[in-house]
């Protein structure tokens, strides 16, 4: 029944238009109306995105749900409103619409100041992020990519903590600086092809030098977003200052945009440069995994700890993407392990979306009660909030990559592929299972177990049904994909195979 529906457009524009409506409810007098309306719109959006999964043709690796219209012609460049998803983008879109519902519920009573603007910002942002995942025209992609910064900038700045201004301006300028280089690269290629069509750019032959420059331009944009060491410093600041909802979107979705950028642009557009610079990418990924893991170990602030752990986990994603050329040998032409690595990277993206969202929500729930994120201010919470502690321990285990949780699947697949590439890569990457367990479990121990630390903790009340709702939904997702990742792997498998075929061919003109 959905064949004739412009599903992707609906998923993009429903929350954006809905966000405007939420804004129109006015000031804080009508906060309840704003919340209810926001929830309805978020649920409708999520419902609209479900057919993307159910109607998806898993046997095809090409773009589906295509919408292709002429947008405009400026000078000698053509612009298209071209949308479509493959098996890599589609799960990310579902993740986005799903997380958006969670955020609206999580911000329900918590945000009392300008609730309508808060809800509207997240709704608009979710539409724009879906736009980024589904755009097949570079200019359209760039418009969504940059426009997304505006609501996030405001969210951190308006509802953030004491150093919010510093954090949000740093966040904006870092990302903006990275993106403008990507824009120049886009324009450079569009000058050659006459349009920004991503699929045409994939086919565009480029010399090695051109590819390296383009790869670096994209790297500047995406590495800031992921973020990779050493351009990660905005992330802990942004996370610490952002309100809970802002942290959740940042960790669960925005970081994935950078990794998605590598998959959609860097690798297929500049495969020869990616091969040439794979050593750099692998080094940076391993530094992120190991070094940032140690940095996380010493954090006093829970949000900072999770932020660093996010950087470390995203290192797995980039590692999975760039070990391709270390695995591939022209003699055997065996791509099974390459596909395993990239599959692992994508699974890790989705799984980290759930886990990091859950972790930030856990910290948010605690922060609302004791108004501190310092580990030293807590202790023995499990005594007064047993149900909450149960969730927290589950998510912490998932964050540490315990088998049976979704955190394990992605990391395991990447480590498996890394072993094929070079046992040392696998050794370093696997060390995170120990470091990750150390920093997460140590935090859990200090925060939740032991004696009740102080008066405040003594008087805590356990989570209410609203909090129980969003934490349990996330818990179900984490366990489901941990025990049965097949549905996820199924949808992406063909698309990943397609991508691997593409990137193993040189694009240098003969």
């Amino acid at each position: 029944m959905f064949e004739s529906w412009p599903l992707l457009s609906l998923v993009i524009w429903t929350p954006i238009v809905g966000g405007m409506l939420v804004l129109a409810t006015g000031g804080d007098k009508n906060a309840t109306e704003a919340r209810v309306l926001a929830l309805v719109i978020a649920i409708i959006t999520f419902a609209l995105s479900i057919p993307l999964y159910t109607e998806f043709n898993t046997s095809s690796g090409s773009m589906q749900f295509i919408e292709h219209h002429e947008w405009m012609t400026l000078g000698n460049l053509r612009f298209y409103y071209h949308l479509g998803v493959d098996g890599i983008a589609m799960p990310l879109i579902l993740l986005t619409t799903f997380i958006n519902v969670i955020i609206v519920i999580a911000g329900w009573e918590v945000i009392k100041f300008k609730a309508a603007q808060y809800m509207a910002a997240f709704l608009i942002m979710s539409g724009l992020m879906v736009g980024v995942f589904s755009a097949l025209d570079g200019a359209l992609f760039y418009v969504f990519w940059e426009a997304m910064l505006i609501p996030m900038f405001l969210v951190i700045g308006i509802w953030g903590g004491p150093r919010r201004v510093y954090a949000t301006i740093k966040f904006f300028l870092y990302t903006f600086l990275g993106s403008v280089f990507m824009l120049v690269a886009f324009i450079y290629m569009a000058t050659k092809t006459g349009s920004f069509e991503i699929l045409e750019l994939h086919a565009l032959p480029l010399t090695k030098t051109e590819q390296i420059y383009i790869f670096i331009a994209f790297l500047l944009a995406f590495s800031v977003k992921i973020p990779m060491w050493p351009v990660h410093t905005w992330l802990p600041d942004a996370h610490v200052e952002a309100p809970t909802g802002g942290s959740v979107v940042l960790a669960a979705i925005m970081l994935k945009l950078g990794a998605y950028g590598f998959l959609r642009f860097s690798l297929p557009i500049a495969p020869d440069a990616a091969q040439e610079l794979a050593w750099l990418m692998i080094t940076l990924s391993l530094i992120a995994i190991v070094y940032i893991g140690f940095v996380a170990l010493v954090q006093q602030d829970m949000k900072k700890l999770i932020a660093y752990s996010s950087i470390s986990h995203m290192g797995f994603v980039t590692l999975g993407l760039f070990i391709v050329w270390h695995i591939y040998s022209p003699e055997t032409q065996d791509v099974t392990m390459i596909r395993t690595g990239i599959n692992g990277a994508v699974v890790q993206m989705i799984s980290h979306g759930f886990i990091s969202a859950a972790m930030f929500l856990v910290v948010g729930v605690m922060y609302e009660r004791i108004h501190s994120r310092m580990i030293s201010d807590c202790g023995g919470i499990a005594n007064t909030m047993p149900r909450f502690a149960g969730f927290a321990v589950l998510f912490a285990m998932a964050n540490a990559g315990l088998p049976g949780t979704s955190g394990f699947v992605g990391e395991f697949l990447v480590i498996l592929a890394a072993f094929k590439a070079n046992p040392w890569f696998a050794f370093l990457a696997a060390s995170t299972l120990i470091i990750g367990a150390a920093y997460t479990l140590w935090m859990v121990k200090r925060v939740f177990f032991g004696k009740v630390a102080n008066e405040k903790i003594q008087n805590l009340t356990d989570i209410n049904s609203r909090e129980f709702l969003f934490l349990s939904v996330l818990a179900v997702m984490v366990l489901f994909f941990g025990l049965y990742p097949a549905p996820l792997l199924e949808v992406m498998d063909e698309s990943v195979a397609n991508l691997v075929r593409h990137i193993l061919q040189s694009k240098i003109p003969q």
Binding site: G27, G75, I158, L173, F176, V180, L183, V184, I187, A190
Partner: protein, 489 residues
């Protein structure tokens, strides 16, 4: 006319006839109406001053209609080669009328509150528009100079309109002295070119220059002309007048100076450098590269240090001029079109930003400090949103129209293999983003000093909302304007 004809060998075959007069219909109508407004105003007192305002606005609307109806389908040179009617000129004129109309509408209550609601403002404004129209349609060095001086004299007088204000008189004086020097430079350069080519008419000069590219006097003349143009545009290092004039003049005059004359200055640059001295583009390209980079650097960096909103907008103008020059220096049709698009969109955004200052100002309160924006989101979320649109658009963030203007200019620069220049430009625009972000910080993240709502007349509220929505709508579909430009370039 004999006087001019004597200096115009090429014009001999180009007789001036009555039949050519309709080509200058907009100019003729403007001249008549400006004179009529001048006379009518004599018979009006402060209570009936509305008549002057309505008559001025009526004139501008009529001119929009006349120009659209007589829109030039091909280039026609008339009046002994002193005047050209072409599509580019007509399009720019239409935007000049629209901008001036907007300026008059924004300024009305501001002028009233400051006892400046006098006929002079409108008469000078209209004569200034006539000057701009002549600049836009000039096909001869003398006509360009004539239009430029008519415009400049009106602006000098307008800056000094607030007689009792020391700061206004000071900036009028500065503007006049520096403007006169620049005009002198321009005239000196023109005289050198005349000395080499023996003509003041642009098409003749163009043909002559093509055969004498290495002539040293010609190059000297070019240098002086570029200086004059750079001064009028406000490009570094000839920008010194701009912040002082913006800050010192009443906001109702600053908005006039900051909007429509940029379109005329763009037209003048194209007429002089492209239509006249196009064959020397190798030489002026290098000069414009230096001017453009310096403008983007100084404009964006110095703007960060400003505490006065008008001064900040002045430096932001300087940085935008750098971008406009980028498009021109490519010496390609696409580049000129991109620059024209940039100039028009910049005018739209500048109108909005100055409109905001006037919206927030009241009796005895200028509201031109950055601090006056503090907590605007609490006082009026809608107008904070409008300001957000203008500022993000100026910063070049999509989906607002400023982004497409930057994209077009960058594309034209990359198309002539100057990727390094495009990279320099984008790096400076990231630096520039910082001071726009500071405005959002004030508007959204800070709590207001006063909690009262915005008191402003309904016409200015409506116009500002339209202005903001236009910037947003053009951001979603920039082809509306870009299509027109491509047609005429």
């Amino acid at each position: 006319m004999d006087f001019i004809a004597a200096y115009l060998p090429s014009a001999m075959s180009n007789e001036m006839t009555i039949a050519q007069l309709p080509l200058a219909l907009p100019e003729i109508v403007m001249l008549c109406m400006a004179s009529i407004v001048l006379i009518v105003d004599l018979f009006l007192n402060d209570k009936t001053r509305g008549g002057t305002y309505i008559l001025s606005q009526f004139t501008l609307i009529a001119l929009i209609l006349i120009t659209i109806m007589t829109f030039a389908k091909q280039d026609t040179i008339a009046f002994h080669g002193t005047f050209i009617r072409d599509g580019m000129g007509d399009l720019l004129k239409i935007f000049i009328y629209i901008a001036t109309f907007t300026v008059f509408m924004y300024s009305k209550s501001y002028l009233k509150a400051r006892d400046m609601y006098k006929g002079e403002y409108y008469v000078l404004g209209l004569f200034g528009v006539l000057g701009m129209m002549i600049m836009v349609s000039a096909q001869n060095f003398l006509t360009i100079y004539l239009g430029l001086e008519l415009l400049s004299l009106c602006m000098y007088a307008m800056v000094a309109l607030q007689r009792d204000s020391i700061i206004a008189s000071e900036s009028a004086m500065k503007y006049f002295v520096l403007g006169a020097i620049a005009s002198g430079m321009l005239l000196y350069g023109m005289s050198m070119v005349y000395g080499v080519t023996g003509s003041l008419e642009l098409s003749t000069i163009s043909a002559e220059v093509a055969t004498k590219q290495q002539n040293i006097i010609l190059i000297f003349g070019l240098v002086f002309i570029v200086v004059g143009v750079a001064f009028k545009l406000g490009a570094v290092p000839f920008h010194m007048w701009l912040p002082d004039v913006y800050q010192g003049s009443p906001t109702s005059v600053a908005i006039y100076i900051g909007s429509a004359p940029k379109l005329a200055a763009f037209a003048m640059t194209i007429r002089l450098l492209v239509d006249g001295l196009g064959a020397l583009h190798v030489q002026w390209q290098d000069m414009l590269i230096i001017l453009a980079i310096a403008s983007m650097a100084i404009g964006n960096i110095v703007a960060i240090a400003q505490t006065n909103l008008k001064r900040m907008l002045a430096y932001s103008t300087i940085s935008h001029v750098g971008f406009i020059l980028l498009g021109i220096l490519t010496a390609t049709k696409e580049g000129y079109a991109a620059s024209m698009f940039y100039t028009i969109t910049y005018t739209l955004m500048a109108l909005g930003a100055f409109g905001m200052i006037m919206l927030m100002s009241r009796m005895g309160f200028e509201s031109d400090k950055l601090d006056d924006l503090r907590g605007l989101n609490h006082r009026s979320p809608w107008f904070a949103f409008m300001m957000l649109i203008f500022m993000f658009s100026m910063a070049g963030v999509p989906p607002f129209v400023g982004f497409w203007a930057k994209l077009q200019v960058l594309q034209s620069v990359i198309a002539i293999d100057m990727v390094w220049l495009a990279l320099t430009a984008v790096i400076f625009s990231v630096i520039g983003a910082y001071y726009y972000l500071r405005i959002f910080k004030l508007m959204y993240f800070d709590t207001p000093q006063e909690t009262s709502g915005i008191e402003a007349a309904s016409d200015i509220r409506l116009l500002l909302s339209i202005n903001g929505i236009v910037v947003l709508a053009l951001g979603l579909y920039p082809q509306l304007i870009m299509g027109l430009i491509t047609d005429v370039m």
